[in-house]
């Protein structure tokens, strides 16, 4: 798993675009020319200049603001493309329902003024993320409930979802809440709802093995909690948390993933060359498929395919290592770093 929003925040500054001196060239923003790694895109291929992009992208009347935004979007997309090529192994660790076993509807839990739900502890090593895919509510009667998500590192609500639980029917609603250790450093997550104002009772899990929780890969620590007297949609005092065995009619479907985001953020310069090459590949591909018609487009297009694919077999044309091959070589180096091959064993037959 890789957080697109976190990665996008560093992608644009990692490698820079060079400002063209051509009088018709759009003036690039300071962020667009910034290059934390010291690399520039047109160093990978002379076809990959900002002015060339301006003349091959599909809007002849593009404004400066639109063009700068376009360059940023190209870079962000290319960076995700690089990361998806490097981190190809299955990152999914586990998916499970917190409570897998069936329950009955003959016992309810009396409402009072409190926050009830779960405390979720994510491993602090930042390389694992959990996702609450769905929240499932079990109420004796039909009841509208607002499910709240908090993190102890933040006073305000993180997210919420409105669910209308059907009477005596497990009601499922997508939440898609990602929980990790780097979004709110060192915080604990809480998912639950406020009980004041509710008229129908939540179903009690008191049948056979219905209150036996699964362990979701063994990495997550999920405990049912209650905060008595709490009535606000803000983070409560953790000293007031009471750990309980009641689930208060709430079940969660949770997935666990390996998360590479922090690894990338703390080693971003290692990805600079591959980003530079991926953007060059994407731009040269744009050139070869451009619907524009002008001198730069014509001259660039005639060389684009050779630049992409290179030349090894045609003796009439100088040998050239294409952008694709250069990118693949760079990706291999990155994979060797993050997926090192162990000791190779060879046997004689």
């Amino acid at each position: 798993m890789i957080s697109n929003s976190k990665i996008s925040s560093i992608a644009v500054d990692l490698v820079g675009w060079r400002q063209s001196n051509h009088p018709d060239a759009v003036v690039l923003d300071a962020d667009t020319v910034k290059k934390d790694s010291g690399l520039e895109y047109d160093a990978a291929s002379a076809l990959c200049s900002a002015y060339n992009v301006q003349l091959v992208q599909d809007n002849p009347d593009i404004t400066a603001e639109q063009f700068n935004d376009l360059l940023d979007e190209i870079v962000k997309g290319s960076f995700m493309s690089v990361l998806n090529k490097v981190f190809t192994d299955d990152d999914h660790l586990d998916t499970d329902l917190l409570y897998r076993h069936e329950n009955t509807w003959d016992k309810g839990i009396t409402n009072d003024t409190s926050f009830v739900g779960y405390e979720i502890n994510i491993p602090k090593n930042m390389n694992v993320s959990a996702v609450i895919n769905n929240v499932l509510l079990e109420f004796i009667g039909e009841q509208a409930v607002k499910v709240l998500v908090f993190n102890s590192a933040k006073d305000a609500l993180v997210s919420s979802v409105e669910v209308t639980a059907k009477a005596k029917t497990v009601t499922e609603k997508a939440l898609s809440q990602i929980m990790n250790a780097y979004e709110y450093f060192g915080g604990r997550w809480f998912v639950g709802y406020l009980r004041s104002g509710l008229t129908k009772e939540a179903a009690d899990r008191d049948f056979e093995q219905s209150n036996l929780p699964s362990f979701c890969g063994g990495l997550l620590d999920i405990k049912p909690i209650k905060v008595a007297g709490w009535d606000a949609e803000t983070m409560f005092d953790m000293n007031d948390i009471e750990y309980t065995s009641n689930t208060y009619g709430m079940n969660l479907e949770v997935s666990l993933y390996r998360d590479f985001t922090q690894m990338v953020l703390t080693n971003k310069n290692r990805f600079a060359t591959s980003l530079q090459l991926q953007v060059a590949v994407d731009i040269v591909d744009l050139i070869s498929n451009s619907m524009r018609s002008n001198k730069n487009e014509r001259l660039s297009k005639s060389n684009a395919l050779l630049e992409l694919a290179g030349n090894k077999n045609n003796f009439r044309v100088p040998e050239l290592v294409g952008l694709h091959d250069r990118l693949i070589a760079e990706i291999r180096k990155l994979r060797a770093t993050y997926y090192p091959v162990g000791m190779k064993k060879h046997t004689l037959r």
């Binding site: 003349l55 002849p60 524009r292 018609s293 002008n294 001198k295 014509r298 005639s302």
Partner: protein, 156 residues
């Protein structure tokens, strides 16, 4: 300036005036240069050649191609000059709702003063000498060539 460049440059100035306020480019006499096995029209810009075919960043372009063979009649010469136009009709005639090709022709012929028109050729056939695509002549774009004849004197 000498020879055929005199009437051509005078006509260039008239077309530039005609298109004042638009983002058009009028080149004078171009040269047929071979690039990668193809003939490409190029204008001399200082010491550099500049290719002058369709440019979608402009509202329109125009250039003059003097045919290689010219007749000599005593002290004067006669040359056939093809005047090429590649324009964006929506940009040049924004208030016209139909395809404004006839508006374009009307304006050009009204302002053609230094060269005598012989024939009008429209569409991709007009640019048959150069490398163009069908979409270069589809709305709002329009391709046009006017074959003209010009008499001029070479003063030695």
């Amino acid at each position: 300036m000498k020879g055929i460049d005199i009437p051509i440059q005078s006509q260039v100035d008239i077309f530039k005036d005609m298109w004042t306020g638009t983002d058009t480019k009028v080149y004078g006499r171009i040269f047929r240069n071979e690039r990668d096995g193809n003939n490409v029209p190029e204008a001399l810009d200082g010491n550099e050649y500049k290719e002058v075919l369709i440019d979608d960043t402009k509202d329109g372009i125009c250039f003059f191609d003097v045919r290689p063979e010219r007749e000599i009649n005593g002290g004067s010469h006669t040359a056939v000059v093809d005047v090429y136009f590649a324009v964006n009709l929506s940009k040049l005639y924004p208030s016209v709702t139909e395809r404004a090709t006839e508006y374009m022709l009307n304006d050009i012929l009204k302002h053609l003063q230094w060269l005598k028109p012989l024939r009008i050729v429209t569409g991709t056939e007009s640019f048959a000498t150069w490398d163009v695509k069908a979409e270069h002549n589809m709305q709002p774009f329009f391709l046009l060539r006017i074959e003209t004849i010009v008499n001029y004197k070479i003063t030695c």
